[in-house]
Point group: D3
Chain length 242, copies 6
Amino acid sequence: MARHDGRKPTQLREWKIKRKYTRNAPGSVLITSGRTTVLCTASVDDSVPPWMKGKGKGWVTAEYNMLPGSTSPRKQRERGGKVDGRTTEIQRLIGRGVRAVVDMTALGERTITLDCDVLEADGGTRTASITGAFVALVDAVRSFASAEQAKAIIRDSVAAASVGIVEGIPVLDLDYVEDVAAHVDMNVVMTGGGKFVEVQGTGENAVFDEHELTAMLKLARGGLKELTLLQRDSLGKFWPFG
Amino acid sequence: MARHDGRKPTQLREWKIKRKYTRNAPGSVLITSGRTTVLCTASVDDSVPPWMKGKGKGWVTAEYNMLPGSTSPRKQRERGGKVDGRTTEIQRLIGRGVRAVVDMTALGERTITLDCDVLEADGGTRTASITGAFVALVDAVRSFASAEQAKAIIRDSVAAASVGIVEGIPVLDLDYVEDVAAHVDMNVVMTGGGKFVEVQGTGENAVFDEHELTAMLKLARGGLKELTLLQRDSLGKFWPFG
Amino acid sequence: MARHDGRKPTQLREWKIKRKYTRNAPGSVLITSGRTTVLCTASVDDSVPPWMKGKGKGWVTAEYNMLPGSTSPRKQRERGGKVDGRTTEIQRLIGRGVRAVVDMTALGERTITLDCDVLEADGGTRTASITGAFVALVDAVRSFASAEQAKAIIRDSVAAASVGIVEGIPVLDLDYVEDVAAHVDMNVVMTGGGKFVEVQGTGENAVFDEHELTAMLKLARGGLKELTLLQRDSLGKFWPFG
Amino acid sequence: MARHDGRKPTQLREWKIKRKYTRNAPGSVLITSGRTTVLCTASVDDSVPPWMKGKGKGWVTAEYNMLPGSTSPRKQRERGGKVDGRTTEIQRLIGRGVRAVVDMTALGERTITLDCDVLEADGGTRTASITGAFVALVDAVRSFASAEQAKAIIRDSVAAASVGIVEGIPVLDLDYVEDVAAHVDMNVVMTGGGKFVEVQGTGENAVFDEHELTAMLKLARGGLKELTLLQRDSLGKFWPFG
Amino acid sequence: MARHDGRKPTQLREWKIKRKYTRNAPGSVLITSGRTTVLCTASVDDSVPPWMKGKGKGWVTAEYNMLPGSTSPRKQRERGGKVDGRTTEIQRLIGRGVRAVVDMTALGERTITLDCDVLEADGGTRTASITGAFVALVDAVRSFASAEQAKAIIRDSVAAASVGIVEGIPVLDLDYVEDVAAHVDMNVVMTGGGKFVEVQGTGENAVFDEHELTAMLKLARGGLKELTLLQRDSLGKFWPFG
Amino acid sequence: MARHDGRKPTQLREWKIKRKYTRNAPGSVLITSGRTTVLCTASVDDSVPPWMKGKGKGWVTAEYNMLPGSTSPRKQRERGGKVDGRTTEIQRLIGRGVRAVVDMTALGERTITLDCDVLEADGGTRTASITGAFVALVDAVRSFASAEQAKAIIRDSVAAASVGIVEGIPVLDLDYVEDVAAHVDMNVVMTGGGKFVEVQGTGENAVFDEHELTAMLKLARGGLKELTLLQRDSLGKFWPFG
């Protein structure tokens, strides 16, 4: 059975990573997967939140946001004091995902903030955010650290992929149309070394069995290998892992 | 290797369910697992949110809250306009978990709100909430529906269990001490029929491999069978599934 | 004339006090009066608000909240940044009531927070809150103070009772049905020693005369003697006043 | 014993009422008592809140606010989304006080909003607010009602006075210096006909006995007679009660 | 062509300044222009915002507010956490306007807050606010500074006037009726020495040409001379500029 | 005297307009002037705000926002319920600027929202926003209107330029370094036909005279001619004005 855009079940959309997209933030990455575009910037602050002071450790945090024009119809800004539940969930996922590969003691008393602003949304914005934010993180770390130090701070790479079951078939890297049609939706965050950081499978108004879980995990693993290579190519000599 | 409270890795804490704990809400369940206590009430409103009107379907939503005295030190109330990220994540999880087993068309244009207020917290409050909220849901549905109708509205039971890896060993139903020590933490929401509704595994500042994932899923499945039986016993003749 | 539940005008509902209801807070009291149930916890923090620092004095504050399922129809949570006027009024009343019997210098630079969360509401939640919060306060004080010290910190006991005029008759301890029917509603906070701490009489859309005021105050005094005895019995040897 | 400003215990400060102080609101009263000045405006809206629609009844509500420059040091504006507890308590008191003398059915489906903005604060702002708001209410009612109709809408006049115990002596109409020194503080809202609308006596960090309560109530009654006369003089032929 | 109130195009409304209107704030000015009335108070705080500490400089800030009864229909209070855009714009304009004539180093580490509360609104509230706030500022400065010092702190006087094009004619000092009818609306803030501090010309749903701009600026200059004289008369011997 | 980047006083930075930058919004323009980059999207909604319903007219509104990574150090998101004053001022300016050239009756009952999100900030973000938003507006109008209809809806083009006095010299199109150094800062919004829509000149802690005002207006006029040509070139055959 063909996917609506002609891809094979195991096939990613076209992904591109453009580093140094803007110049005020030390890490600035424009990542696109098909028609999803996210601007990931990484800013460095030479201090840590009050509750972390004096421990000699750093902190990495993330914020996620969709620009109003990124969707049709227009999405209202989250200004009225209330960040919606989905946004909160996604930015916590990005933060945990990236923190899993950072050595906070090696980072020292610094805060790195990863801002993932979606310019155009067509499904998979959270996985694009994590995958792009990692590249921005490397550039931000290199703004104050040598290659040697960066290797100590960043223990492994990290990327994320979505998988799901659409019309009974497990497929990789769902776009918006597939996302809506999927009965099960799973996001997998994985290190370059092949370890899980996060597995989140959800059947909203539906359920799934062990067999389907296994098939989705396998698809995700394949896609994540490709995304890790893309990150490595994009960083070139700044790739911290030899 | 023994757990700090003497349990075997596959052993649940002592769980109890007390129905009709208060009388103003049609469903009111006090659920305890060890030293964790949650009051789950289910209220019925004969209308639906504006965006659902006229579709002939109902809605189930959940709210989660920890009372200030449920923890030591005291937890501040979430009154300043800002519900914290963890709370948002948990109440969305409860809502999705219970919605997965409800037939919204059979429910009709009604909203059922599940309120899970933690009276005492010692780890596992979200899994206790889901497990208790399901029982409160059944009582609330029976306040307006016959046994026959309830069976159409509620397609299956649902419960949740936590598993994790503590000092290298996969263990079931973590209390607070284990939760803090765990390198990987996973919550599994499953139907009485043995299907997954939600799988959320997280390695904050750590990672996990396929082998560990498999071991945790197996543990969860065992615990969830027991919790389903506890729900059935508690509901007695109100258990909708014959 | 009989009251709708058969009580005499001078008769309290059935009141019960259960200490150590939960274990994380040093004071934890479940108080019930008829179908009104309030969980009162008292937490101790070894610091004071910024504006009190360095004065060698302590502080006692209270928060009041109704759980959503405590009423029918369900009461919405006060999360949207706005605590409603009634809540504010009640928690200020509880705080003033309890502070009146505490010697802040003997307490030292500590803050005791009294949380009164209503699990089930059938009228009289504010008077149950004060009466229960006093008992929780004693347990919390004893968590850091000897019997001798507690006697210095807590100068007297305090309790509260509601009175009102229903169909022309002054009655004690109104439940919800009577509360709605009452033309005048009065809350009296009194010490075990028989002094007033607070007298609040209100005729919403009605007025009252001196004669009615006197009758209500007399009823309240009678009820408060009984509630003081209940507090004493419940605390047993922890009752600070010999 | 002399009061710090030379008044006798039974003596009010100098009170003045200036009607039609501004012209956009139909009722606009500048009321001063000593160095306390409050601008009370009454606005009329030909609709009622949603929950009152179609019942043929009106509504009266009040808002209270202190201008930043009314105190020294400057008081911060309540703009940050949070109205403080004292403000809430006072505006609820004003609203209840005035509603007690209004016949909502005679008023018809209209909302009258009483805004009490304190221009200068020297104690007793809530009692000045109620006393002034009543006069503004009469002017506002006369903007749409005949003398005959006004008499049906407004059943009686209402005014408020503060009393307290300062250095053991019951005194009337406390200014700021006395307010701070008082061990007991009581506000009494009373109709022109001599009935109580509200009695609020508070002993913050202190208590009071029946004898003191009686003395304070007597003082209040005396002061309120004078304030009722001042209201009548100020309204002249617009005084609704013949 | 006559203006609706009979004024000539170059004619101001009747302006009055009343100093020491209230007594708690060191500067307190009631300014009226026709039926517009603004209470401008200036409060002094012997500290500066955190971001200015230790620089030996002071700060001047302004807040603007319309009382609910100042307009018909009643204007809702800005309490719900949201200050509206117009309010923000106006209070920023007042702050910039007054800061332009203050030597922050001569002021020293103090904050002066200018509160402009509109008691009655009939157009031109922002220009009345600036013109009155300057007078309140002088009184506030003189509360801690000698005449000599005040001259060093306050470099020049400042006032503001509105101009506009109504039915093709440039007019000075628009009231509400003219404001609504104007196609172009301009506010000019100018020093006593004749220099511009701020020029804000706006054609909402309309445009204007260079010729009209020049005509409006000329009208404003004329009006501002008169307002400067009024400020000087009002301050008498406290006028800082010899 | 040379400008720090070698430009002549009358010289714009390099400006570029890229249409159709993203695809979900009908108008999507990436505008850059030197190192300032703004994404302007225009969304169309087939309804109007409640207060405009049934009048047969449309509405155009604007929102402005700086992404956190657009500045160094990182700018905090405006999520805490409070949109800062500068943001409010700018988005009101953009809205008024564009509304001045739109015929609301010809537009019909539609709302066009212009979102200006700053990706990189180096001064002049508000003028780039207006200039880019106009182009996005044209594309959005053409998504539902013929060339003929668009000409009726959009009466003229509109663009904006900043001018200022830096070290005594009037200069055009200030970047961030010049903006900080400028004693006077002026923004001019002008139609393609050469009429003013808005003139805002501000001397924060400084003043300016008539001569300087005239010089700045002349510089602005020159720059705005060039920007109008750039808009026309970018729109090509979609330029509505023949």
